[in-house]
Symmetry: C4
């Protein structure tokens, strides 16, 4: 990557923005500059890992805050996560406006990411996905709960976003800032949120965390569904157990494995 | 492909047909000429995608209308979809008679395709499959319904074809024009139809649409079955939500991924 | 393969057997001579297909009658089906005695094959497997029934072999002629039989048939289990539908696909 | 491997330990010397097999007693089993102290292994895993039972370890000797134990046995769950049948297959 040229380009864009009308300037925010190449590599790895682990199929997306500016985030243009490469990564402000190339095809639901970053300074990475094992819990009266320690982060329960409350009968997509904001408010301080008839949004303090939580949210849903099917009373994880698990949780070991699979090395 | 030779051949065949007796001529309809190579490539891709996604196993088939003549359609000879190559593609009239090589082994259920094309000018591609997650819904009193936005096209429900109504006790195959016609009439203006104890037929305005719908019909069946197994009340997709979803639906992103997998490039 | 040497060897073995005591001669029956190389290739393919399709894991076996003598059958020595090569194929008489190399490690349940061949002259190939979707039906009061046309051969129901009736509390293995005979008698004229707490034995008029039936028996079990889980009334395949399906059934199309996968060509 | 250098190193470490204070010496026990290279290869194979068979994902671990000293066991440092190589194998005493390199990242739950080896001289290999099909049975009132002969070793039932009894509300990890000891005592003379909300610990007289039992414990859980879902009465394996099965059980055939897959040869 030609860092010099990139920086120049963003300076030029910033200069150009300065002379635009306010409305246009709002559409083309300034870039925070080139991101850490390691962060970009991890973002590409995260895309592929989510695909390889079945969290996403052709749809779904993952983003990360820019390492130089908490008011910018990085995410692919509209492409199946498995196919994402460095050239696809775009930079957005927290209103989900791209800093350049606004004509490229973009995820219509990028507002999920931007609005969560606005309300949650502790969050550095976000996943949106339609994981098959999770979707049934988004439409069922039966709440998703953790039965096993790998689901410690959801031991206190997760909120569900009902888009009908925000917009009545819609096409179900969180495709504008108002819906994104309503979702982020419903999320509150929780690690993840279910979207009725749609999927989930998951947060983390880093890409390994958000990827790990997304994978184990899918696992938790499968485990609970299987436990219910057995027909006997179930001992769920206690919220205190969940808190103690999360206090020492990291995803170092799985991240080493997943990234090696994803990057083929 | 030698287009010139192909055209010549089809002219010769048309000429030969002209001097046949009427009955024979009906069996050997004229070709519409060589199809767009891009369409053929997409048809081969569609075959492989359906196999890779588990929509079909060794059985099942996909067809597309000929780009030069809406009264002709293209489909492989009788072969497992995963193995289909350009040399296997045959051209049929809407009575499902091949324009050449009638001695090759053909799908006995090709009438599903021809009869749907006759009644549905809006349909340009058809899939017939025995997707394992869908089959249970073809024999159950519990109707298949959408719980998630990916199943928007079935939010208004799908009809079921009971071959006993058309033919009493049969070998279950839609292997003649009468059964094909009865199925197409039962389909009506819906996007897809279930076949009792057998599988499904899915329609689309293009190969990406029919492939996308076939895949997500299988997904919808899995999601609903899992939601039912949880045991709680279920919020289904509202038909209005389904219509709004379909109004902006395309399969561009998944088709890019699927085709790349299928064609190995 | 050196056919000349093979034939010589079997002649020598036969000559050796002629001078043994009657008891020993019974243990070392004469060979029918070298089998058709195409049949051997299909037997190896059958082994691999059953593994690739999940019908068998490391355990389970498939046999075929010798093309030169209906009183001999061919089967691998005791090895995981996926690993079987030509050098592993042994020849047995219908008492399941090997014609040579009795010291090689053999399937202890080969009597399933020999005893079925004795009672069923119409059967030319046998599979024994512990397919995971089928095993639950071997211990449940709920009988395995066909909901779909791919399970036509089981529309009239399958018998279940309870080894406790033949031998009380055992190690569950059909590891002698008496248990094999009891199983074959219980099979009667049916295409397949379930073994309580164990698995299944499937018959066919050829390797493609027995492999196809074994695969689709596993599919039928999955489909029925899923239909039951939906909770609504189920329309099962009518026995007359099953007979009509089987009257025109062949496994040409899937066999082409499966064999290509298995032999890597 | 340079055996000479290794032996020298362990002598040096032993010598160094001799002059340490008692407390430090306890932390750095003497090595039993280099292990049999075949045992190390099997331990690496076991790690990979467990991953390939879905018994473990990125988490879980397998150990084996040292061939030179029953008071030492061998296990990888903290790494996803699929990635384990010879350089990762560490040697522990039965208090789960490493004989060298205490600064390397280690499995926090290694006490499961050490404490079982202390109480069970008949056990030569241990697996700890969170197999998805097994976890639901660790939290359900419905006990795990064998329906098929492959689960013979659990026909008499398995105990469940409830860490709340040992430590109240915890992070669920068996991460100290006291919890390990409580688990080993609860295990008693059984082949395996379930850990509530967590997973399982499995024992064996060798690596093939512990790997085989771990795989078939997962299979047994799946089979029972599917049998329950059918809704009819179930015939379980009789404990006497289980004992007779285990009396002749070996894992020679599957181990050949699994190891070939794992080692790519």
């Amino acid at each position: 990557m030609n860092t010099f040229a990139c920086t120049c380009l963003s300076i030029c864009l910033a200069a150009a923005a300065a002379v635009m009308t306010p409305a246009l300037a709002q559409q083309r925010p300034a870039s925070a500059g080139p991101a850490d190449p390691q962060l970009i590599e991890d973002l590409i790895a995260a895309n592929r890992i989510l695909a390889m682990q079945g969290v996403v199929d052709a749809m779904g997306h993952v983003s990360v805050r820019h390492n130089r500016d908490p008011n910018r985030y990085l995410m692919s243009l509209a492409r199946a996560p498995e196919l994402v490469t460095e050239a696809d990564i775009m930079e957005y402000d927290l209103d989900s406006n791209p800093v350049r190339d606004p004509g490229r095809r973009q995820y219509s639901e990028r507002y999920i990411h931007g609005e969560i970053y606005k309300l949650r300074p502790d969050v550095f990475a976000v996943v949106h996905a339609h994981t098959p094992s999770v979707v049934p819990f988004t439409v069922s009266r039966v709440p998703l709960r953790a039965i096993a320690h790998s689901g410690g982060f959801l031991a206190e329960g997760l909120p569900t976003f009902e888009i009908r409350e925000a917009g009545g009968m819609t096409d179900m997509l969180v495709s504008n800032a108002a819906f994104g904001r309503a979702l982020a408010e419903k999320l509150g301080d929780k690690p993840a949120i279910l979207l009725r008839g749609h999927g989930m949004a998951v947060t983390g303090k880093s890409l390994p965390y958000v990827v790990g939580r997304s994978i184990y949210l899918g696992v938790a849903a499968k485990l609970q569904a299987e436990a219910i099917a057995l027909g006997g009373a179930i001992t769920y994880l206690d919220p205190e157990e969940g808190r103690k698990i999360e206090a020492r949780r990291d995803y170092i070991r799985p991240w080493e494995l997943w990234k090696r699979h994803a990057m083929g090395k």
